[in-house]
């Protein structure tokens, strides 16, 4: 009998929550429309596949050698080249941000290169204020130059043969989309949940709930179940949309996708509950979820920025960012297929984190009215 009552009460709580989700359209918008916006914007907009960088070349004469070098730059897909004779125009364009760099080929270039004279006849000027692009411009320019040298003057002695695993065209959307799934789940699990629960504290309805015979565990479950389902639906929709829109390969198994997603969803929900329990105020809850859940999911989960390149302190912080493990697992699932050893490790780490958060919630949510 006991069990029946609990189940019925739980059903009531879940039903109430579902009604609330449907009554305020903003919940559904946060769960479905926001992730769609992120998917489109990040999938198309966050492209690091550099092509057609605006680039200038200053030539002081037009010998066949110089022309051949210039042509190899014009033919490259990386650069959108404009050729000129006066470096001052390019200097001005560089300051105005209209080009990302330019090459100055000196007058005696053809001669120097024939005479094997060890002197620098080519100068590359980059716009260091955009340091990321400047690094790429350096790499591409040297690569083009070495290739040109290899073809025309000094056949290469050592050549590099790249083998790219899992993502042979190095499509950046393939790497970024797992991060967007994590963002979608964080939005529902942490942001939305923390808002919903904080609202109950703010309006005093949490106190009314507590005055009823419902237990804390039931209140928590009543919140978790509906948002868990909502978040999982949102994640699956993002997966389907990315496969259709971005040709994201799906090489792993659906079961592992569900396991990894469920673990991450649970952790996100616990985090959302914790934030709202501590803040009890929607404004504070929203900013805190932004800073401790949303932002780390974007920055420290490794889908955009390489974690090992970050300073030690940030690397240590990233160990307690569950999104890191989710992104690592899901990315491999899509691109490499099932790697159970990796997935088990990722899932266990997420669950351990979830457990820790759960204990803090349980400790903080004693039935107290302060």
């Amino acid at each position: 009998m006991e069990k029946n009552i609990i189940l019925q009460r739980l059903k009531g709580l879940v039903y109430k929550e579902i009604l609330q989700i449907f009554r305020d359209p903003s919940s559904l918008l946060i769960a479905f429309v926001l992730p769609a916006i992120f998917l489109v914007l990040c999938g198309y907009g966050l492209s690091l596949d550099i092509k057609d960088i605006k680039f200038g070349i200053v030539t002081e004469n037009t010998t066949p050698t110089t022309q051949s070098l210039v042509r190899s730059f014009i033919n490259s897909k990386y650069y959108d080249v404009s050729v000129g004779y006066d470096r001052h125009t390019f200097e001005k364009e560089l300051i105005a941000g209209k080009i990302k760099g330019f090459l100055v080929i000196s007058q005696d270039f053809s001669q120097k290169i024939k005479n094997k004279n060890n002197f620098t006849p080519i100068q590359l000027i980059t716009d260091g204020s955009d340091s990321n692009t400047a690094i790429l411009v350096q790499n591409y320019t040297q690569g083009l130059l070495y290739n040109w040298l290899g073809q025309n003057y000094a056949a290469k002695l050592i050549s590099v043969e790249p083998r790219i695993w899992f993502n042979s065209e190095l499509k950046s959307s393939n790497s970024i989309i797992p991060g967007i799934i994590a963002i979608a789940m964080t939005l529902v699990g942490t942001l939305l949940t923390s808002l919903v629960v904080a609202r109950e504290w703010e309006r005093g309805t949490m106190e009314s709930l507590m005055a009823t015979p419902v237990s804390i565990v039931e209140i928590i479950l009543g919140k978790i179940i509906p948002y868990f389902i909502l978040g999982m639906i949102s994640a699956i929709l993002v997966v389907v949309a990315s496969i259709l829109m971005f040709d994201l390969p799906f090489r792993g198994s659906f079961v592992w996708l569900l396991i990894l997603s469920a673990a991450f969803m649970l952790v996100s929900l616990f985090l959302g509950l914790l934030i709202s329990t501590l803040s009890k105020n929607q404004f504070v809850a929203s900013v805190v979820s932004l800073v401790i859940a949303f932002l780390p999911t974007v920055m420290l989960s490794g889908f955009m920025f390489e974690i090992s390149s970050m300073p030690l302190v940030i690397r240590l912080i990233s160990y307690v960012i569950p999104a890191q493990y989710f992104v690592s697992g899901v990315r491999s699932l899509f691109l490499a297929g099932d790697i159970p050893e990796l997935f088990i490790l990722d899932t266990v780490k997420m669950l351990l984190f979830g457990l820790a958060v759960f204990f803090i919630i349980a400790k903080k949510t004693v039935k107290r009215l302060d």
Partner: protein, 368 residues
């Protein structure tokens, strides 16, 4: 009337300042954001683990290994067998493995072409591309040096590179100035967007409406505090950027503030729109996100606008953050000439006027 507006502004600022949690939220998160973004948002690759499969054991492959080890791209090197490569890459123990065939050195010593295989983990497309570029550059450079040394050819010093404005290509010089714009935008939107919604939820907004205060006064009373908070936030971050991160500011401070105010007006316009539409704080947060996500992603903050697909680029023309970020970065590192500032300020002014007046009319209509 001025008196009433004044009172409203003071009340609004006090409402933010009196509550300890709200106060903390205005101070602590911006600092955390600044630090995390400044240190994490780097597309450089350093400190990774390199796997080496060497079937050669000759002198040339040894020298290449030494060259690779001396860069700060790799901090740890593992020697692997062919059978261990799979596990090394799959389990993400390292991003890249290089492989020398048997007799690699012998070939090079006999002036025949030697090949180095570079296996990279394409799951991380960006880092893979960068690491592959680094390795190719190091090996190419070594190849040219070797040829120069052996009088095969002399081209190792063919190019010299100068990076203007940021000679060492410090990533922070690129990221941190932009954060002043992004973080003040976020705080400004959250404060103005949520304040009306909160009053609506608590019912105090109706009290405000039945008081003799005019809609225009409410409008000003809600906008000015947002402007003050935005200015304070930006000044605070500006000081951290200069004093803590020691990033050079080469432009004019006057221009900085002038542009900042214009930019904040456009942000306040969006905040007012959100305020007049949202009935609950949850809706306001949704509105804030719907504006902030595209604004930040399409601003050129992390990836250049020129990289985006052709259909997406025109959309960025409506993004106030894009113009302000360009001006901000230009003022910091390049001391861009006033004509360049003006060319970017003009669209910003147009956007601000449209947004603020549009939002103001809308806000007043909704109140009536």
């Amino acid at each position: 009337m001025l008196n009433r507006i004044n009172t409203l502004i003071v009340k609004e600022l006090l409402a933010v300042w009196r509550d300890k949690a709200t106060r903390m939220v205005l101070i602590v998160p911006p600092i955390i954001q600044l630090l995390i973004f400044a240190f994490a948002a780097t597309l450089e690759v350093s400190n990774t683990t390199l796997g080496i499969v060497n079937h050669d054991h000759g002198i040339i492959s040894k020298r290449i290994e030494d060259k690779l080890m001396r860069t700060d791209v790799f901090s740890k090197i593992y020697h692997l067998n062919d059978s261990e490569v799979n596990d090394f890459i799959n389990m993400e123990k390292g991003l890249v493995v290089i492989r020398f065939d048997q007799a690699f050195s012998e070939k090079v010593l006999n002036k025949k072409e030697g090949k180095v295989q570079v296996i990279v983990d394409g799951r991380k497309s960006n880092s893979a591309q960068i690491v592959e570029g680094y390795i190719a550059q190091i090996i190419n450079q070594y190849s040219l040096e070797y040829m120069t040394h052996n009088n095969l050819h002399n081209t190792s010093n063919i190019i010299i590179t100068r990076n203007w404005f940021n000679p060492n290509l410090e990533n922070k010089w690129f990221i941190v100035p932009a954060l002043i714009a992004i973080i003040s935008l976020m705080m400004c939107i959250v404060v103005t967007g949520l304040s009306v919604a909160r009053e609506k939820e608590l019912g105090t907004f109706e009290q405000l409406l039945v008081s003799p205060i005019q809609p225009l006064e409410i409008l000003i009373g809600k906008t000015v505090p947002g402007l003050i908070i935005g200015l304070a936030e930006a000044t605070f971050l500006f000081l951290i950027t200069i004093l803590v991160f020691r990033i050079p500011f080469r432009g004019s401070i006057l221009l900085f503030y002038f542009n900042l105010v214009i930019f904040l007006f456009s942000v306040l316009g969006v905040g007012l729109f959100i305020s007049s539409l949202a009935k609950t704080q949850q809706q306001a947060i949704l509105g804030a996100f719907i504006f902030m996500a595209p604004a930040i992603l399409l601003s050129g903050f992390a990836t250049p606008i020129e990289n985006m697909p052709a259909w997406l680029q025109p959309i960025t023309a409506f993004n106030p953050l894009r113009y302000f970020m360009f001006i901000l970065r230009g003022l910091f590192l390049k001391d861009i000439p006033i004509a360049v500032v003006a060319a970017n300020l003009l669209p910003l002014v147009v956007i601000s006027i449209l947004m603020l007046t549009g939002a103001a009319c809308f806000f007043r209509r909704r109140l009536k």
